[in-house]
């Protein structure tokens, strides 16, 4: 019962922060909203008993990735987002698309599982560090390693893009930062 209350509290905060992330005009406010979303997700993980996952969620997403986002926003001194004709089109198309996508996801979930049983909120999840290690390093070893190679490729790509003008190919100005609109 108590867990259910907590679930709704943190679920609501997570959704509200996600909406706020879109509504805010200034990138730093959006980034901070995303951190709140991450923190709420970590709390939800805690509620189902996945403590390790919760800690990792905070350390990796809130503590590392979002720090880099905030860092980049600070470094570029990004100002308020501008309204363009493009953004109006995006708004016109975006809201119906969101409703469509949410409906599709809900419909798929319900169609696959027509009689959802209430999930026991705490303690049932097998998420201890050793259990996750068993999954990662034995059952799914190959996908895990392939993913790490994929990330390595992405890092190499970033190095190539960021390398000084002498070694970079193409006429584009290397100082121009890549557009990071989608979050």
């Amino acid at each position: 019962m108590f867990q259910l209350v907590l679930f709704f509290v943190f679920g609501t905060i997570a959704v509200a922060a996600a909406v706020n992330l879109l509504a805010q005009r200034h990138p730093i406010n959006s980034a901070l909203s995303l951190i709140v979303v991450m923190a709420c997700l970590a709390t939800l993980f805690l509620l189902i008993g996945a403590e390790f996952l919760a800690a990792i969620q905070v350390i990796v997403y809130a503590g590392a990735i979002m720090v880099l986002f905030v860092f980049v926003i600070m470094l570029l001194n990004a100002g308020e987002e501008e309204r363009t004709p493009g953004s109006r089109v995006a708004r016109l198309l975006g809201f119906p698309a969101v409703v469509l996508l949410a409906g599709l996801v809900a419909w798929t979930l319900l169609a696959r599982n027509p009689h959802p049983v209430p999930v026991e909120l705490t303690g049932r999840f097998v998420g201890s560090p050793s259990a996750i290690a068993q999954l990662l390093f034995r059952d799914f070893l190959l996908p895990f390693e392939v993913t790490s190679v994929l990330i390595l490729i992405a890092i190499m790509g970033a190095v190539v893009l960021a390398s000084p003008a002498g070694t970079a190919t193409g006429p584009g100005s290397p100082a121009e930062p890549p557009a990071k609109r989608e979050v």
């Binding site: 730093i28 901070l32 951190i35 403590e51 390790f52 800690a55 990792i56 905070v58 350390i59 809130a62 503590g63 590392a64 720090v67 880099l68 905030v70 860092f71 926003i73 600070m74 470094l75 001194n77 201890s128 560090p129």
Partner: protein, 348 residues
């Protein structure tokens, strides 16, 4: 079996005690720092307020409260106000996971000497520490001043870089203990090797001494202390990220810095220096108190080392700082993880 009421009462008592002790320790770390650095530089340090200047922290606190609380006109107010609170709250939260001694029984209630015993305590602690960079980053950004911004940019880059070496230097210990629970990690370190060397992690294999020094360097960088204090380098950046803060808001950053030092010292004590283990003797009440005393002594030693280094070493240059973090500490930490796992695998 604990009833819910006893649990709440015991928790509140423990929280109050931990908070009072921590804040006192923070206040007296500043006194200790001024005193020790003073003597290193051949002067007296605070000596006018009370005997040996012992009441100086109280006088400083009163001064901070009565100073004018100035908010510069061009700051981004919500974040400007939130940043010091965030710093202090995160710095004080992590102490709740630090165990300082064995279980004690008071009036029939048996309780561990820590606020909460979590089975992945170390990870949660690292998580909280990794969030503390936001206090610094947001303070610098929202101040709308170039010194603050430069300071917080440096701080974010430095803290993110050294966090990796910091985390990796702890992995060796975790592999040896096979647990993320701070209490279990400490319990693994009880007893002696060869009858007189304590079985602390730092003494078990030579690799752990290396890991300890990697941790030491990374911890100094994480807490923005000399020789890694570029975020607040006085000679270049006025005061770095907290240039625009005054009165209690500045005091919050100050307290957060010292609380972080104590947390980092506690982690080092728990993981490398055997936690509260030490020689026990005397009547039963002394046997109950001695572990806490040993723990406090080890943390004190670590803080003294912090201050000693502050009194002796100059500041790094920024490129040296980054090169040291990524090209020296990081490879050493990775090598330590590999060697330690190899030894553990061979022993099994």
């Amino acid at each position: 079996m604990l009833t819910i009421t006893t649990f709440i009462v015991v928790s509140v008592i423990k929280i109050v005690i931990a908070l009072v002790v921590l804040l006192t320790a923070v206040a007296y770390s500043t006194w200790l720092e001024r005193k020790v650095v003073g003597h290193i530089q051949n002067r007296w340090g605070p000596k006018r307020v009370g005997p040996f200047g012992l009441l100086q922290p109280l006088a400083d606190g009163a001064k901070f409260i009565f100073k004018e609380d100035l908010t510069p006109p061009y700051v981004y107010k919500p974040l400007y106000l939130a940043a010091p609170i965030l710093s202090l709250v995160l710095a004080l939260t992590s102490i709740s996971l630090v165990p300082i001694g064995n279980w004690v029984t008071v009036d029939g209630v048996r309780t561990p000497l820590e606020i909460t015993d979590v089975n992945i305590g170390l990870l949660i602690m690292l998580g909280i520490t990794s969030l503390s960079v936001y206090g610094v980053a947001l303070a610098g950004w929202s101040s709308n001043s170039k010194y603050s911004l430069l300071g917080s940019l440096r701080a974010s880059a430095q803290m993110v870089s050294y966090e990796i070496a910091l985390g990796l230097s702890l992995v060796g210990v975790l592999i040896m203990s096979g647990s993320l629970n701070l209490r279990e990690i400490v319990d693994m370190q009880s007893g002696h090797v060869w009858a007189w060397i304590p079985r602390w992690n730092i003494f078990r294999w030579p690799t752990q001494i290396v890991a300890f020094f990697v941790y030491l360097a990374a911890a100094f960088a994480e807490t923005n202390r000399v020789p890694f204090d570029l975020p607040e380098a006085e000679t270049e950046l006025v005061a770095g990220y907290h240039t625009e803060y005054s009165s209690m808001k500045f005091a919050m950053f100050f307290m957060a810095e010292y609380a972080n030092m104590i947390t980092v010292a506690s982690i080092a004590t728990l993981l490398f220096l055997g936690g509260w283990h030490g020689p026990l003797f005397g009547p039963w009440w002394l046997q109950d108190l001695l572990p806490v005393f040993w723990f406090a002594l080890k943390v004190f030693g670590f803080i003294f080392l912090y201050i000693w280094i502050r009194g002796t070493l100059p500041r790094f240059r920024y490129d040296q700082l980054m090169a040291f973090g990524w090209k020296v500490l990081f490879p050493i930490a990775v090598a330590n993880v590999l060697v330690t796992s190899l030894i553990v695998a061979l022993q099994k």
